[in-house]
């Protein structure tokens, strides 16, 4: 029994399919090499997006074009 290689180095389309770079995949989406369960290097689904705040900026579906933070002495 042999252990099949996981595509821990992600996607690659730069070589002929039969000479695919080691540890790369020719067909992969929404996966990351560090899993979300325990942050181990082993391939898994990417983390999902969550709202930081429940407020929709300006109350409409307009894109947020800039974000920064400002620090002041308190």
């Amino acid at each position: 029994m042999a252990e099949f290689v996981l595509p821990l180095q992600g996607f690659s389309s730069g070589f002929p399919v039969d000479k695919q770079q080691t540890m790369t995949s020719g067909h992969i989406n929404n996966c990351r090499p560090i899993d979300t369960l325990e942050k181990r290097l082993r391939i898994g689904q990417r983390p999902g997006f969550e709202k930081l705040y429940t407020q929709q900026i300006a109350g409409v579906a307009g894109p947020i074009v800039a974000v920064c933070s400002v620090t002041v002495a308190s």
Binding site: M23, S25, R32, P33, T36, R46, F49, Y53, A66, S69
Partner: protein, 703 residues
Amino acid sequence: MGVNTYESQLTRTNGEGLTSSNIWDGQTFTPTLGYAVYQIQLSLSKVGSPPSTTVDIYATNASHEPTGSTMGTATILASAISTSPTYSFVVASFSAGVVLTAGVEYCYIVKCTGATGANSLLVGYNASAGYSAGNKIVTVNAGASWTQRTAWDGTFKIQGYPSSAPPASDSYTTKRLVCCASDEVWLETAGGGTMEQVAASMGLLDTSDFLSMFELYGKAFIVNRSIKKILDLVNTKITTTDAGANPPDFGTVLTGVTSTAKMIVDYTTALVDNAAATIYGKRTTTTTFSSGETVTGTDDDGNAISFVTSAAETAPPHFYDWTVWGGSSVYGALADNLTLGCAYRGRAVVSGDPLHPHQWYMSRVFNPWNFIYGANNPLSAVAGNNTNAGEVGDIITALIPYGDDFLVFGGSHSISILDGDPCQGGSIDQIDDTAGIYGPSAWCKDNSGNLYFFGSGGLYRMDGGRSKPQNISYGSLPELVDEWAAAPATHRIILTYDPLRHGILITRTTLASGANLNYWYDLKAVGFYPETYPNACGIFSSHNYNSNAAATRKTIFGCSDGYLRYSLDTAKDDDSGLTDTAINSYCTLPLIKMNEADDSEGRLISLTFELAGGAASGTFGDTDGLTYEIHVGDDAETVLEDIKDGATAFSSGTLSGTGRKNRIRVKARGRWLGIKLYNSTAAQTWAINTVNGTIAPAGKIKG
């Protein structure tokens, strides 16, 4: 270590008799140092056999009376007290230190509950005072009312040790998130937890046009072509209808004659005598400027400043135009149209004027209101055409500061670096004339200071931010540029370094719809991972928010639907507004040649999957299930295309639960083997440890 005496008054002239439960005696005191009280010694005497005595420490109110709950209680047994007429100091010990703050008034209160005239307590005091930071207080109705004996003081020693209380805070800073969308600015509330509109900004931006925002000196500076604004989170605002003949200068200290409030002037809107002005400054006192009071100061030339406020001060935040000092041309001029901005060496740096696309401008150091170019001063404002460093010979597309060391100018087809300060021998050198940087946000830095940007050939890296750019995507993603077909009029490209996951998110979002194509570039595994998100999550901006609150210390994305989002490991779906969207995740293992001999096939006999999570449940994370597909074929490319096209698999199945799964017997014959793993079910995620298989030779390829 001996106990320290922090407050004391040792003289005794008289004694206060506590002859009932309602008569209490006390003393106010104000520590000059912060410390923890462990004991109070009182000069006491007794008549008969009084009950035990208690000593409490309280905070005081504005009337110098005890308020709130006791901060600590100590008990004195009657047996420890001398019989009248003898007085002696008796110790009242607090089992836990009562922590006091310097400069804050407290009091101790002595009670002898159950005392009578025959069995009472005498509390010594000095009728000639002797302690300057408080006085004796008494009540005859168990605290319903108090009498201040301002000329008398108790006879006492307050003793303890330096406070061992932990610091109240490890930082004196407050951070707040700012974002721009739908022509207005929103600001995180001071305590976090919500975003709120900056009402004064409503409709004053044009977020359909170029816009750049950067932090400098407690403010967010916004350049939005002809619109130039500031969100000021640090200054207090005062107004006057007549700024007077001598308006304040930058840095002038103003004082309210009535209130005694003081501020260090940061900005004023006008410098004209008999004309209104709004003045912003950092108030340095707790007292505040009031309406109608005279404010005075002295300007840089020694002239007396005097004006009358037209309203009480207004606390930040404030939203106002970014102009030169007082709006006066004496202090230079901001360029008419600006689309790029950053902070560098204490200067506000701006660029991106379509009429002067090669030009850059820097304010005076520590003064973003001063744009007097060409002054012979190392701190003065400077522009590309007023210094030996010169303009950049390319249209500037991005400004990338590296601390105080150097500033990278991204160009449409080149990269240049400004070393040092242009007013102190700094020079600009072009280091590349091939790649260019796609747009204002098509770059990021990793935690080692390496610069990544999207350019004409894909993704590039500049080690340390200043080496020659190296294309790092071409080897794995040779079709990236063609596939993305990115056009600034149609797409926005954002690069974001995620320090928690140590990788870079490269996103191309369609401006009109939020449709997106993305790659995660993992810096640990060194590989590219394609990702797709719901259009609502299309990324238009990002920021690594080093918040003081762990809940918001995230890499934050400004999304196409007006929500701020972040990546959450426990989120198994993508939040897409009112609903969640399942993540369609799949992964094809590197294709496996089942027989190394030419024209020969192999046979997959069995497969064993080990899913992540170990034992089910418990405290460690568990994977959900996943589906596998097995494809075989005579050549690798056909197998891969079958998988991509969704061709019927030779075999498939679903795995559930964690850990090692039972061996799957397959008997799939072919020259090449492809295994696809996937899950597109809502509220599920997956991870896998290993895939093992047994392959045996199967003879020549038929046909």
